[in-house]
């Protein structure tokens, strides 16, 4: 019996050494912040166009590739960031022009599959231009760590947390206080009503894709600074999907809290149960958690709409 309890409680037992436990918690939460940053982009596009953008993960990779590429060419960092933002905006225009406007009124599942195609195209396109080797991305985030109360914390993790907080605040102001933000919310509520009061849907789509491209750039910069820019970035970014399921598709706070739960949960599970079953359970833990969660609460923690029961 004792052994079974030891196994079940393994994620809790790591707190026997509370410093180690806290380190796991902090690194989990900060991985969660990274997931949240990716998930934010999903939520923005989903709210504005009802499109489930599978390519968001690749958008993160693409943004990071561009930034790392420009810096690699010797362009000063602020200019490189501006250039990348320019590319993301250009990308939004192109996507609207070539894809979105042709898929109006299609079923959601068709839109979803189109974004899978976009994801494939974009990742290969980025790597064709910038090469597929692992790139270092150094935008001046301080390296190293400090140790309050004997807990090791990376500066990078702190920076990521601060950036995420700033980004969410910025987005909240953008959505609530600006005219464009109001238009975005109107579109999210009801496409037809928004059209009838004179909001241009196409402009809105471009804006929303551009904004989520910039969010992707922020996420990509953080991930890239942490583990280098490489193809696996897009696979890590797939973890934003379970985050969304947990948090609800339409909710920005949901994306943040869902990300924290997933990040924390998978770190604790990995450290606690990993050794018993051969490790690497981080690969699937988030998905299984989301799947179980779906069965009990399909709309997520903060989702507004009740998903059609079938």
């Amino acid at each position: 019996m004792g052994e079974i309890w030891e196994f079940i409680l393994a994620p809790v037992l790591i707190f026997e050494s509370w410093q180690f436990g806290m380190e796991v918690v902090i690194s989990g939460l900060l991985a969660g912040v990274m997931y949240s940053l990716v998930a934010l982009g999903f939520v923005l596009i989903y709210k504005a166009s009802g499109m489930f953008n599978f390519a968001q993960g690749v958008l993160v990779l693409f943004a990071a590739l561009n930034l790392a590429g420009f810096i690699g060419l010797g362009i000063p960092i602020p200019l490189a960031i501006l250039l990348t933002i320019g590319i993301m905006i250009l990308f939004a225009v192109v996507v609207e022009y070539l894809i979105l406007r042709h898929l109006v009124n299609q079923e959601q599942i068709i839109l979803f599959m189109a974004t899978i195609g976009l994801a494939f195209f974009l990742s290969a396109f980025g790597e064709t231009i910038w090469g597929s080797d692992v790139k270092k991305l150094d935008v001046g985030i301080p390296q190293g760590r400090f140790e309050p109360f004997g807990i090791q914390i990376q500066y990078l993790e702190l920076t990521a947390g601060a950036v995420a907080a700033a980004l969410v605040t910025g987005l909240a102001i953008f959505f609530n206080k600006t005219k464009i933000g109001r238009a975005l919310r109107a579109v999210a509520d009801d496409h037809q009503a928004a059209l009838s009061v004179g909001i241009n849907l196409r402009t809105i789509w471009i804006i929303v894709w551009a904004v989520s491209g910039i969010v992707a750039l922020v996420a990509g910069t953080m991930w890239g600074a942490k583990s280098g820019v490489q193809f696996s970035l897009s696979e890590i970014a797939l973890k934003a999907l379970p985050v969304l399921i947990l948090g609800g598709f339409e909710s920005i706070p949901g994306a943040i809290i869902g990300g924290l739960i997933i990040g924390l949960g998978e770190k604790l599970a990995e450290v606690g149960w990993g050794p018993y079953v051969g490790g690497a359970i981080e690969d699937w833990f988030a998905y299984i958690l989301a799947m179980v969660f779906l069965v009990f609460r399909p709309q997520g923690l903060f989702g507004e709409k009740i998903i059609e029961r079938v």
């Binding site: 489930f52 898929l103 959601q108 976009l118 494939f120 064709t128 999907l241 069965v295």
Partner: protein, 410 residues
């Protein structure tokens, strides 16, 4: 001119319900089957005998193209049943194929499990003990693999009762990542070898060597017999053709109509008395059955040995999804067209791109070819979804309609 229904009457109900109602279609199908079963093997054999083709070219054609094509067709059939007919999107196809492959492996080696005990010297020795006699019939293995995968598919299909659309897609991603993790971490699955590679043991069918090799005494000499590529090809082809007919008849009967009703409007389907629970789970079961068979075929006939985490990764799932989208959602013909398209394009690019690059003085390496291939696939998916959401199958159908009226459009 030649392709029209004038003068063909249905004089019995059976005729009225035939799959191919036009004589020309029927001839066409028999012609294709004749080419696949007789002309290709005999023709290639004669070409090799006549010195027109090297024996290695023939083996390359069979082992690298035809077999892959057949395996992919089977997988595309499976996914098309689920996504095209029943409307449930799945991103876990490769994982289900993997389940099939590992099932085939375990049954072909007799479901070994390991016991560890101490010998006299006190050293720990481990021993593999079979639970069942090993099965050496490849067709039986493929069928068992299908059945086991069907069970696994139903388990991962359970969330579809509560959710649909891309929510379900995420749930199937869970299957993908979890199962692939199992393929490299659950030692029992690959008989505890450290490389987590599985290799199919020698199998025979009707006395013919299918995998591995066999040494026999002939004229007082030891002769090693290697499996003929034709054998594998014909077995695979028979399996695919047989199950394509099964699928075709399933989707045009009561079951298939129930699937399509659920796909088109689930509430209306419920109102006319279709039980969504049973219907969806059946779709998951049948689809996984096909995918499992495809995986087992891939292990037994195509690859021979494989590493689960690598052979069945998520890109493979996407590839099968692309076959279904490009070929045509909700079309059996489309599954074949899509599989052919997605299988042949990379082979074509690998050959043509370096040549093309050479013409313009641009060096093209393997990574470049792969990137270009991904870009083409991605772009094609978008183009097809915009221009022709029903894929190549629809184009084929339009072509036939046109042909019917040609050359007198009245």
């Amino acid at each position: 001119m030649f392709y029209r229904e004038a003068g063909q009457f249905y004089t019995s109900y059976a005729k009225d319900q035939g799959i191919f109602q036009l004589k020309q279609d029927k001839f066409g199908l028999w012609g294709i089957l004749f080419i696949a079963f007789v002309v290709v093997p005999v023709g290639l054999y004669l070409m090799v005998q006549g010195g027109l083709m090297a024996a290695s070219t023939k083996d390359y054609l069979y082992n690298s193209i035809f077999l892959l094509l057949l395996v992919n067709s089977m997988a595309a059939l499976g996914l098309n049943i689920l996504t095209g007919y029943c409307g449930q999107i799945s991103l876990g196809t490769a994982a289900f194929m993997g389940v099939g492959a590992f099932t085939a492996y375990k049954f072909s080696t007799g479901l070994n499990y390991r016991i560890q005990k101490e010998d006299e010297a006190g050293e720990l020795i481990s021993q593999l003990v079979p639970m069942l006699p090993p099965i050496d019939n490849p067709i039986l293995l493929v069928l068992i693999a299908g059945l086991v995968t069907a069970v696994v598919g139903v388990i991962f299909g359970l969330p579809s009762l509560r959710i649909k659309g891309f929510y379900l897609a995420v749930a199937t991603l869970a299957a993908q990542f979890f199962l692939v993790w199992c393929f490299s971490r659950v030692e029992w699955l690959y008989d505890y070898v450290s490389s987590s590679t599985i290799q199919i043991p020698p199998l025979k069918l009707f006395g013919l060597v299918v995998t591995g090799s066999e040494t026999v005494m002939r004229d007082g000499q030891e002769v090693t017999i290697y499996p003929a590529a034709e054998t594998k090809y014909l077995i695979c082809l028979s399996l695919v053709v047989f199950f394509a007919f099964v699928a075709k008849n399933m989707v045009r009967g009561r079951i298939g109509r129930a699937w399509m009703a659920i796909r088109d409007m689930d509430i209306a389907a419920q109102l006319i008395g279709i039980r969504p629970l049973a219907t969806k789970l059946l779709a998951f079961a049948v689809s996984s059955f096909f995918c499992g068979m495809a995986g087992a075929m891939s292990l037994i006939f195509y690859l021979g040995a494989l590493e689960g985490a690598e052979a069945f990764n998520i890109n493979e799932s996407f590839a099968v999804l692309f076959m279904v989208i490009i070929g045509g959602l909700g079309s059996i013909t489309g599954s074949f067209l899509g599989a052919a398209f997605i299988t042949l394009i990379p082979i074509f690019l690998v050959v043509s791109l370096p040549w093309l690059g050479g013409q313009f003085g641009i060096p093209v390496d393997a990574a470049m070819v792969e990137h270009i291939q991904f870009m083409i696939f991605g772009a094609l998916i978008i183009i097809f979804l915009i221009m022709e959401p029903l894929g190549l199958a629809r184009l084929w159908q339009i072509g036939k309609e046109r042909l019917r009226q040609w050359p007198f459009p009245y």
